[in-house]
Assembly symmetry: D3
């Protein structure tokens, strides 16, 4: 019955199908270990959000990442 | 005032505009019948999720569907 | 597989268990009729929100309801 | 710590990166002014929804917009 | 940056603070292991939902649990 | 039409009705200024979350706050 929604800002290197499968498997195992839930009852949904649409500290992630790259350069 | 959010894993045959309109009309009618809400006050949002991003029972829906097809074949 | 989340502002007369059961049954039937989903695969979650925490048109519902009552009085 | 999720039906003229940045900045400032939150602690996520997937008053926004245009014509 | 929202139907034996802390720690570790996210950037929110407000297979969880108990008795 | 959902961890000093009204008014004004939305079309929902149910950096906010108080003492 548990529903788990994971929201991520999309990165330059996209999250792979294998990583998504690992997230789904890992969250499901956690629900089983901590709350004794049957794996079949666990639903996981991953939302990948455009970095232009995700803000942290008052700025879009696109801006934050650009600045971080300039500092590192 | 009621808000209804419907989340679906995207299928091979995409949900059509007509089906979405039926969902919107049906949910709105239900809010009117059960809770006496004015239709104008009802908002419905449908999210179609990539099957790779939707997990059930510890596995992505893409994997579950592939296995089901193999069993049926 | 479909997940349906219904959000409602709490009213003076609370939504009864029978009304909630009708919402759950009605939404599930709709998913079956429109999208051919198996009833067992449908999850419905109802969130009842404090009217102080729900705003429409820039004002909390508590304020809107008070004003509407004064107009009717 | 506050999380703010803004959901919008996509319009013919898409919301620009500059408008999204203004929304993110404005919401963050509001959290700081009203609740004394540190800007770094505020997360804002904007979801742009296909108008076919958004219903108001029992109809998809695509239908509502088409009708409004016909009335204006 | 990842946000994780866990939704659970409340049980007779409530989820303890220790179990919630385990869920939060476990999900955060998973984000670090699979996606290389810094732990400080992970937010987890647990929503406990009244079983009367949660439906599966067209019925409220309250009804489903009552029936299961009668079968076991 | 825009929907805005604000999620906050509950604090020792609860968010007042006046602060919630300010959040609702402020977000609605922002939607009008940035996106030219009619105020009547804006819905705002505030969710106050138990700090035990909110995790940051792998720990519940209850634990984080306790530690911060000890450091300040």
């Amino acid at each position: 019955m548990p529903l788990v929604n994971i929201r991520l800002a999309r990165r330059d290197q996209p999250t792979t199908a294998a990583q998504k499968a690992q997230l789904i498997a890992g969250v499901t195992r956690l629900m089983q270990e901590v709350l004794d839930k049957r794996p079949e009852s666990v639903t996981v949904i991953i939302d990948e959000v455009d970095p232009e649409n995700w803000g942290e500290g008052g700025e879009p992630v696109t801006v934050l990442r650009r600045r971080r790259k300039q500092i590192q350069a």
